[in-house]
């Protein structure tokens, strides 16, 4: 198959368009799910419906201030996230914004890194379940999840099959996303 660089590697403008488009998609999805039409939304953020359509149809019109305003109008907040994905030449393109949002939600919406440290195990499990349970016989049916203590394990140890086996042999249950399903 032909090996072609990702289209956002063509220019900064293309990359900027893609991530602005992701932002618009998040806003529009929220409006759809809440049943808010553009007239109502325009009123909420103090602009004309025409301006809303113009901006949502042309994501490059956004600046940081208007992004915050549009997000607030939709009942959302905005984070600007820089990340490293081992793709310095951008051959693979950006990570979709909803991936970050979904990860944060699945981690229990932690407000800071201290809260995150207590929920890190399910992230590890959900992203790479095969490596986590490699060679380990997962009890079936899974034991009932009993608390958060067994989650306080450094992330590097979690990747060790030995540690996972020890935990399971002691009757511990390694939490999965299922345990936290809302």
């Amino acid at each position: 198959m032909e090996n072609v660089s990702h289209w956002t590697a063509r220019s900064v403008d293309d990359f900027a368009y893609r991530i602005a488009s992701d932002f618009v998609a998040q806003i529009e999805t929220k409006l759809e799910n809440e049943g808010i039409d553009r007239v109502e939304f325009a009123k909420a953020i103090g602009v004309t419906p025409g301006r809303v359509s113009q901006v949502l149809n042309t994501p490059t019109l956004f600046n940081l201030r208007s992004m915050v305003g549009y997000a607030q109008g939709a009942g959302l907040k905005v984070a600007i996230v820089a990340y490293e994905d081992n793709d310095p030449k951008n051959e693979l393109g950006p990570i979709n914004a909803q991936v970050f949002t979904s990860c944060w939600q699945k981690a229990g919406r932690p407000k800071d890194l201290f809260e995150l440290s207590k929920t890190v195990t399910r992230l590890v499990y959900e992203i790479e379940p095969q490596s986590f349970y490699r060679g380990v016989n997962v009890p079936s049916p899974k034991p009932e999840f009993k608390g958060t203590e067994e989650l306080s394990i450094p992330i590097d140890l979690l990747e060790s099959t030995t540690v996972a086996q020890q935990l399971l042999s002691k009757g511990s249950h390694i939490a999965t996303g299922q345990d936290y399903a809302e």
Partner: protein, 156 residues
Amino acid sequence: MSTRTLALRLVPGLQVARGRAVGFLEGHPELDAGSAFDEFEKGDERAMRANMEHWVAGNNQPTTKFHGFPNDLDHKHCFVFKHHEHRLYGFLCHPRPKADPRFQLCALCIYAAKHRLSTDDHELRRVEEWMTIEGAVGAIRGLYPEYRGEGAKWKM
């Protein structure tokens, strides 16, 4: 009409994802989605790419950018990507039924410029027809050897 020369061209430069892909079914004058996309102006082209990639990443909304027709029994496989008046119509299929049955391909077939609110039923009917044509099935099989057509049962 001859459909022996049909081919599936994955949208070049688009993100490669585990769960979804988008391509153009080409090789017949009626299959003009790919050529229309190639001739889009820069702004329309990248908007359409961004919309495709949003779907490829696993999102099913917003419907302002793309949507299927799951409640329309006659066109339940059809799918459309939208930007301004531009519409790229195609169908969804599962081209790797054995290796990855959940993997979805959107095979785009037809371009239309839409200035009305309602979707043109004519385009959807044409897409449904293309979906079942043996040449189109073969074109998809060219990239996904497992594919036998939507609804075909995989025999072990």
